[in-house]
């Protein structure tokens, strides 16, 4: 490697894990954009400074979102990445593809761009990395022809995403796939034509395992849950007891609310104390199942640390039945967006706005009653957000 042009990047090829440098080099054999990308990245590593200019406004006709402009600040050295725009393509809900769809996508991308992809971005979209300005519209046209559409970017509703839900998972309490698809189709306008103070993310998890991490990564989190008792099949419990699983140590002792009791024969759960952590159900899937009455908990305010620190979503609706056409859910989303849009400052996420103006102002504005389940963290730290006149009423 003594003569390598990229000694610093080469370091990232060592070790037994996959390497994006290896991928880039492979792509560079076919595409000069990928080759210049490697060159620019090596320069960035050497000089310890990024060589992308900030921002860029490019797009396709009729859409204000879906394309992110990128320009190199050293086009003299790397002419092939002078323009290196990113296109976000709305992924199929739950990321279920047929291979021919993926092939089609890659064919379009080889024709118009660098051939480099990121499957998938944090929001969920297929990220197509590196395209020249004159290729944007033809690439979009070809993608449309193949049945794909762009996702959200900028101050728009970002592409909603969902866990695989009932498509593959027996724990699903709601049809996360259908909810996500339905919301995506309903809110095409908000997604393609940004008009909010900042980004707005919706993620749908079908059970409290929250496989899309909606609680940490979305302004509006929908998480499947149940009412009533966890369904127990005692015969299967006995079978688990006879296997390697130590029910007392591995299940009951690790229950965060200590609501489980195992006497060696019968497993009992005090469901009133269960906080739906899913630990027991995950360990004993054959014996334990979520309760029969199923719906979703709605949380708001999650975000990553930009502008202000990271926030986890918190509960605003403890239980909502979710059935098509999801009118109650959509009404709530629209009321929240209206309030945020009206009062939010530029670049202020929903969670930050609620923190600035207060939870009780938020609740009154969106017409939700304050309930004890609206806590910052389960079983601790309750908000006090009753209005003085409401407290008076209670005292009488």
């Amino acid at each position: 490697m003594a003569n390598s042009k990229t000694p610093l990047l080469d370091e990232l090829e060592k070790g037994k894990w996959p390497s994006f440098v290896k991928d880039l080099k492979q792509a560079a054999e076919k595409n000069p954009m990928a080759e210049d990308l490697i060159g620019q990245l090596e320069l960035s590593y050497k000089e310890k400074i990024g060589h992308w200019k900030h921002g860029g406004i490019v797009g396709v006709k009729g859409y204000g979102a879906g394309v992110i402009g990128r320009y190199s600040d050293r086009p003299d050295l790397f002419p092939n990445v002078q323009a290196f725009h990113t296109m976000r393509v709305n992924h199929p809900t739950g990321w279920f593809y047929k291979t021919d769809a993926l092939r089609k996508l890659c064919d379009v991308w080889d024709k118009h761009g660098s051939g480099l992809t990121n499957m998938h971005g944090a929001t969920g979209d297929v990220i197509l990395l590196g395209m020249k300005t004159d290729q944007l519209q033809p690439c979009f046209d070809d993608l449309s022809e193949a049945g794909f559409d762009l996702g959200g970017s900028g101050s728009a509703l970002r592409t909603p995403s969902a866990c695989v839900g009932p498509g593959r998972c027996e724990w699903a309490c709601i049809d996360s796939l259908d909810v996500c698809y339905n919301l995506t189709m309903t809110y095409q306008g908000q997604m393609h034509r940004p008009m909010f103070p900042y980004k707005f993310k919706i993620k749908v998890s079908a059970c409290p395992n929250d496989c899309v991490a909606s609680i940490a990564r979305s302004d509006f989190s929908i998480i499947g849950t149940w009412k009533g008792s966890i369904r127990i099949d005692q015969k299967e419990v006995t079978a688990y007891a006879a296997s390697d699983l130590n029910i007392q140590q591995e299940v009951c002792d690790l229950c965060p609310t200590k609501c489980m009791d195992w006497d060696g024969k019968v497993l009992k759960i005090n469901d009133a104390d269960c906080n739906r952590c899913m630990h027991c159900i995950n360990l004993m899937p054959k014996a334990l199942r979520p309760g029969q009455e199923q719906g979703a908990t709605i949380l708001v305010g999650g975000k990553a640390p930009i502008v202000k620190g990271a926030l986890l979503s918190w509960v605003i609706v403890p239980f909502m039945k979710l059935e098509p056409p999801y009118t109650e859910l959509k009404d709530l989303i629209e009321r929240i967006q209206d309030w945020w849009d009206e009062h939010g400052k530029s670049r202020e996420r929903l969670g930050e706005l609620i923190n600035r103006l207060g939870m009780r102002v938020f609740l009154r504005a969106v017409g939700l009653p304050a309930v004890p389940q609206m806590v910052k963290a389960p079983r601790t730290n309750p908000y006090v957000f009753f209005w003085p006149e409401e407290i008076q009423k209670e005292v009488k």
Partner: protein, 106 residues
């Protein structure tokens, strides 16, 4: 820095086509530039209403207004805004109005 020639005059623009010397803006610039942003024919009264609004706001506050504010103050909806400026308010309208490039965000 790229240059474009419109109606007999030369302007410096950035790589996205946004005017660099904001004081060089004039109505002929907007009119001659419109076709680049997919606007067919001449700019209408409605186009000018948006452009003038953007320029006023920008002169007052030094930034482009939020889109909700445009819609509210001008009493038009997003659909109309995209009909007028098919490439969008941030790209098309601000470019013709000679505003500095809105800070994009991913």
């Amino acid at each position: 820095m790229p240059q474009i020639e419109l109606a007999g005059k030369t302007y410096e623009v950035d790589e996205d086509g946004f005017l660099q010397e904001l004081d060089k803006w004039n109505e002929e610039f907007a009119e001659a530039y419109a076709h680049v942003e997919d606007i067919e024919g001449k700019l209408t009264e409605e186009h000018w209403m948006v452009i003038n609004y953007l320029r006023n706001y920008f002169q007052q506050f030094g930034i482009a207004p939020m889109i909700r504010k445009i819609c509210k103050d001008l009493k038009i909806d997003m659909k109309k805004l995209y009909e007028l400026f098919p490439t969008g308010p941030a790209k098309g309208a601000c470019k013709l109005a000679g505003l500095s490039k809105p800070t994009g965000c991913v």
